[in-house]
Symmetry: C2
Subunit: 143 residues, 2 copies
DNA sequence: TATATAGGTCAGTATGATTGACCTATCGAA
DNA sequence: TTCGATAGGTCAATCATACTGACCTATATA
């Protein structure tokens, strides 16, 4: 399958992955710290931003955490008027989450360093590398 | 620079990165939990494995954590006889870390699911995608 | 009407990181 | 040889973030 020198290459890829991800999350982490928020808050804002009117249950599934772990950060975001809660008219038990204008702004502020980060790297490495990166990253969760 | 539809693509890449990294760390995390160890323990074992006779100071720099945060997990690994400490003969202040045989075995056990994970994905996406992935991952920390 | 589902919340616990402070030992330069 | 810098160790207090278990309300559905 894979010979020894290839395996050594892949050893290095593990490291690559670690450092790449760490550098990728460093910038938003700094902004979050200034606001006394954590990564969970960012993730909530991000996924609610991409999926307006997201049921809480689905958010739990996406984030793969307990409802108790979601409860406090989500409550904070609602208190800060970054997230709006409404009741589904199809099922009165279901609460739907959406970003407020304020929430949208913060989400953009947190996500834009990551966008820029990726844009810069993509410009540096060229289109074909980007295509390869996407293909591989897309496959990883399904192995 | 980057137009709107491209920006939307890159939005999705942020998500891709998150899920890819999460799936990548899930397997060793499960093994670690069985052993009552955490990710820091894994990282220590990994970097000491790749860099035998690693000074503690360098390990701190690589991991980018405080010495107090390193202290307890490292002590545990030494107590478990997974890591061996020796004094540098060039500088009596410097402690050098290396894996014991036992440590080597555990490191391999933790890292091999990640190796296999990458190997499987690499086989699925092909060489040119892998090259692109590597190029992009290698650039990310230097932006 | 009974059960399942969606969600909220409290309590207790564990982990892992932080900062601050203070300690020893060693090195290297004045 | 003395002094400041460096490497490392450790204690304490604190904070953030997760967990499980338990119990609550409200709504949907069979």
């Amino acid at each position: 399958m894979v010979d020894q020198s290839e395996r050594e290459e892949i050893q290095k890829d593990i490291e690559l992955f670690y450092f790449a991800y760490r550098s990728f999350t460093a910038r938003p982490d700094r902004i979050l710290q200034e606001l006394s928020l954590g990564r969970v808050h960012h993730r909530i804002l991000y996924f609610v931003g991409r999926n307006p009117q997201l049921p809480i249950n689905e958010l739990l599934t996406i984030l793969d955490i307990s409802k108790q772990a979601l409860n406090i950060p989500l409550r904070k975001l609602i208190e800060l008027e970054l997230i709006n809660v409404s009741i589904s008219d199809k099922d009165g038990r279901v609460r739907l989450l959406a970003l407020t204008n304020k929430g949208n702004k913060l989400e953009a502020r947190l996500t834009s360093p990551q966008l820029k980060h990726l844009e810069t790297v993509m410009a540096a490495v060229g289109k074909s590398s980007v295509a390869g990166w996407r293909k591989m990253m897309g496959e990883l969760p399904f192995v």
